[in-house]
């Protein structure tokens, strides 16, 4: 068995007790390498004492205290959230009041202007519709334009000279 395997067993012994199989392998190694015996004994003794080290003292109601602390923390969190939002609102109002007032005034002016513009355009549209209606009542009825094309053609006939008319009459 090589030194690497001894190192492997040593590292295993730092964390836990060796298994019977590992113990056997170790004994074989130590039999072949008696110089490693003292080192191994020191390591084994230290591992033993570290394992024997008692647990840290812990109060019997530790779990209850933790659960209570969690509960308190949740309540505090809820409280601080609501207090924070209220405080935040106050702070915001105090800090931004002039800007908010200016913005509100501007908004009122814009809305009033828009309303006025809308009223004006409505009036204009109503006027236009009225004018259009009055124009349409002046026009004759559609039957009047029945012979429009014939009359229009007459207007395009070239004037005939007097001599030609006379000749035609004779």
């Amino acid at each position: 068995m090589g030194d690497s395997l001894y190192k492997e067993l040593l590292e295993a012994s730092w964390r836990r007790k060796l298994t019977p199989e590992e113990e056997t392998r170790l004994q074989h190694y130590l039999a072949a390498h008696p110089d490693a015996q003292t080192e191994w004994e020191d390591e084994a003794a230290l591992s033993f004492y570290l394992r024997q080290l008692p647990d840290a003292p812990l109060s019997s109601n530790f779990t209850a205290r933790v659960l209570r602390a969690v509960e308190l923390d949740e309540r505090r969190e809820e409280r601080s959230t609501s207090v924070f939002s209220l405080a935040w609102c106050r702070h915001w109002v105090r800090r931004h009041l002039p800007q908010a007032a200016s913005a509100l005034l501007l908004l009122v002016v814009v809305v009033a202007g828009f309303q006025q513009y809308r009223g004006y355009t409505r009036k204009q549209v109503a006027d236009s519709v009225g004018k259009f209606y009055s124009v349409t009542t002046v026009f004759p009825r559609p039957e009047v334009f029945e012979d429009f094309e014939v009359i229009h053609q007459l207007g395009q006939v070239q004037p005939v000279s007097d001599e030609e008319l006379l000749a035609a009459l004779q």
């Binding site: 024997q52 840290a56 109060s59 209850a64 205290r65 933790v66 308190l72």
Partner: protein, 203 residues
Amino acid sequence: MDYPHDPDAALMLRVKQGDREAFQALVEKYKQPVMNLVYRTLRDATESEDLAQHVFLQVFKSAHRYEVSAKFSTWIFTIARNLCLNEIRRRSRHPAESLDAASAENEGQPLRQFEDTRTFLPPDAVLHGELEEKIGEALAALPEKQRTALVLCRQEELSYEEIAEVLGCSLSATKSLIHRARETLKQQLKPYLRTGVWREPPN
């Protein structure tokens, strides 16, 4: 790395859904290992318990963003170690203040109920008691990383890889830390190691 078969991670996922019983189960399982780590670092039972309590509070508060990216034990020991380091830093800045003073909200909580385990030690335990003290002192004198590596090494469920993850260093560096810590302890405890008492089965 995925840890689908880590039962503690499964419990933590239940905590994430708001399951208080799962949280209580985790506290029951990890209170002693966490307390051991914190106590070996701070060396004060009362302050250690307060800090251990903070560890679990932190676990609960972080539950909503918990993802199973590592073993739960690795995660909780990392939290415990970080809080210990913060406390050590805080102590170095304000040496006189205790953790109790910093947490006035604990007033409404039930008082600690420590079991008195040291009052009636049998005579054959005296040597062990003395040795315990020596080991405690030697551990306390170690650099923080070496001490944490050694204490976590006692947690059989943690592999070297997981200890390395808690410490934030490589596997070889972790083994080297443990080796150096053990060498220091062997030097300091030499007279006790050679007595052969360790060969006796524990009472």
